[in-house]
Symmetry: C2
Subunit: 444 residues, 2 copies
């Protein structure tokens, strides 16, 4: 009988092994051939692997293979001597002795994009059409490595604050956020929807664990193609009980961002450098009321307030600009959104029920977070539903939590791709979405 | 202008604060009233919060409130003196002085289930119908806390092995796993599907990061209601390049499980105790060929082999039993599954193309993992598609990765809820699914 006992000691080296352990001498490394620069009697062959690029030097007569047999896109096991070389990407190069070809691209095919270029200077359309290949570009892939770091920071911080991670269903019977932007599907003869948010479930789970979070896909059937909307995106949600007010949620978000940015600085410095990102300061984020923000912006930028109960994207941009100019902050919390712009589960401000105990967070003029305190009282929730012409009977499962007792609670949702987009100063959210879904894009 | 600067110092205490920092004296704690045992002149009031149960003692005349005003399901801020008490759940009790009621359940409502009982002795149907409330039971919620730990272990291990976490789309154009069990949805006038697995995308991302993983929902439109099928579940997927064979993937899984179980022992000891779980040994997992396993079981348990190319659930159970009896192992890898039972992307065994370089892992007689090596060569993949009557034109985006070069690679998917189920010796996967989705269940 054979037994599986776990990962064996590797026979190959990674870039970090060589740098951290100051390995010298003869080593083997895996990689894909990123570029070949054939200079006649010698050649530079750059390998791409998960930790970066490795410059290999081929010299005719030294090796057991010919550079003519190599091709970009092949994957190989390269063997050679490590040699310090400051001009090489990692400060060393591999002087090749052997090369075993592990796999080959299709014969007579050319790369559709020059992925070995530093920055892909193709249109977003082209990059997305060839996403499986364009992501092999070093800069492109760094974007999603950094995005991994954001999610890790979010989770690690919340674990440390005693939150529990939950996994809520994406096929649902109800329509938490209201409106028409919900995908319908056939579910064994019943009507079902794709979850627009984990709202009902995260509130439910506050009744179980007091503090919960989820980082998972949500689905919005938005019909408009904009630079900031996606039909499927990752929502970083948390929800917490025993709050004194929605300010507790803003405090938690500020601390989370502060932790996450430190975490990125520590663990993702390579990607931050590659992408030329300077992390913003979050130690002191201004908070302004919705109605006051509109006035401030209207006065400073000489702009008429068209609708006192709504915020146009241009106003968001100007609010961002205002707080950058006046307070040097890339972030601003806009609080007390009008009731009619918020869902039925939002708690109204007891001092003025036209407004809610809620907030958005703007980052460089774009909304990246929506949050607030929720209604915890059964009668209050039922009455608000009725006032909106909703039938509480349709929400029996959700109302079960209010019926049997819920702590005062609230939470928020952060759009991961938008946060990444603004952090990288990109102009289109598709740049920071691995495989974007929009009205005209379902593949790759 | 007001500023948000992060989480303030708490005024309340958690159970761990009191135990770890040996807090004494007067403290305030938040919690939901789990039970009230009124003994006349005094009463035990048990609070439930995220870290467990706290026994509070009420004595008439001492407090500024009456126990008669309290009700199960209320949430409160309790203030009192800490007093060592070995018989109390945490080794201490809170001798109450004050109690502020933060929220109340609906008037004149009774709990639909006795959630304060140690073990809910209701049917699974009832538990699921009242899931938002039944999860408030201490034992029920421990299940999903432990499940959190499994996912954390999976992720942390893979980070340490230099895997990158990815987030792939759940609305897709193609049908990776084939078959009829795919949910269809209307996508702006186009046909779309819910992803049965992240298969195409994780292979694609191996071409980018060499090693990737994802822990995310997958969707299967299974029409049969069994104790082990769900229509939406969490798949723990990883995929890795530069493998020498599918054995590398089994090694990685064995090491991952070993890490995860140690992690649970260290960080989730409370839940393991609560649920009475003994973690199985994974240091030495037997591996047996599919065809040999069938023979072994047929001989030992005197059972006719009906179909040499398929494994019935009963056979899985017997294989599990065989390796428990003969080798003391709760786990067994069954390798070399027949080609016709595996998808088109599976690599056939070059020594016998009726079988594949793939495996399942059984845990206590149930399949919890499917994995294997994938085809990396373009022509080989196209030819296998054609041999199966598939049109390669339908897979242009997927085939882009083979066309432009892929390392030898493979990976696996683990059913999180099934793994949890077997770990807990539960009989139905719904027991270990937060909000299960099946043919007849779309709510809560």
């Amino acid at each position: 009988m054979e037994f599986v006992t776990g990962v064996k000691k590797k026979e190959t080296y990674e870039i970090n092994d060589i740098l951290d352990r100051e390995i010298t001498g003869n080593v083997s490394m895996n990689g894909a051939i990123h570029t070949i620069r054939d200079m006649g009697e010698f050649a530079f062959i750059v390998l791409r692997n998960r930790q970066g690029l490795v410059q290999c030097v081929y010299e005719e007569g030294i090796t057991d293979f010919s550079v003519k047999d190599l091709k970009e896109g092949m994957t190989v096991l390269a063997e050679g001597m490590i040699h310090k070389e400051e001009r090489a990407p990692q400060g060393f190069e591999l002087r090749l002795v052997k090369m075993a070809v592990l796999s080959e691209p299709q014969k007579d095919t050319m790369m559709p994009l020059p992925i070995s270029k530093w920055k892909l200077k193709t249109s977003l359309e082209t990059k997305l059409a060839y996403r499986p290949v364009s992501l092999r570009n070093i800069r492109e892939r760094a974007i999603f490595k950094l995005q991994e770091g954001i999610v890790r920071g979010f989770r690690d911080f919340l674990y440390s604050e005693d939150f529990t991670e939950i996994r809520t269903p994406k096929i649902v019977a109800g329509n938490a956020e209201g409106g028409a932007n919900v995908f319908k599907l056939e579910y064994f003869g019943k009507k079902a929807f794709l979850a627009q948010s984990p709202q009902f479930y995260k509130q439910t789970m506050v009744g179980v664990y007091d503090r919960v979070f989820e980082a998972a896909p949500v689905f919005r059937a938005e019909k408009h193609n904009t630079t900031r909307h996606l039909n499927e995106y990752t929502s970083l949600d948390f929800e917490m009980g025993y709050i004194k007010g929605f300010e507790d949620i803003m405090d938690m978000e500020a601390s989370m961002l502060s932790y996450t940015f430190s975490f990125l600085q520590e663990k993702y410095a390579k990607e931050l450098n590659l992408l030329n990102v300077t992390l913003p300061d979050v130690s002191k984020i201004p908070a302004v009321r919705f109605d006051e923000a509109k006035v401030l912006v209207s006065e400073k930028y000489d702009r008429k307030i068209k609708n006192p109960y709504d915020l146009e994207p241009e106003e968001e941009v100007l609010i961002g600009r205002y707080f950058k100019e006046e307070f040097g902050s890339d972030f601003v919390f806009v609080t007390h959104y009008p009731s009619k712009k918020r869902p039925f589960y939002a708690m109204d401000d007891p001092t003025d029920s036209k407004f809610t105990l809620s907030f958005d967070m703007l980052f460089r003029g774009m909304e990246i977070t929506t949050g607030g305190q929720r209604i915890h009282d059964y009668d209050q929730q039922v009455n608000k539903m009725i006032a909106r012409g909703m039938d509480p009977e349709d929400f029996t499962n959700f109302l079960m939590i209010h019926k049997h007792g819920m702590p005062p609670h609230g939470g928020l949702g952060i759009g991961l791709e938008r946060l990444t987009m603004k952090l990288l100063d990109e102009q289109n959210v598709r740049e920071t979405t691995l495989f974007p879904r929009d009205v005209s894009r379902l593949e790759p």
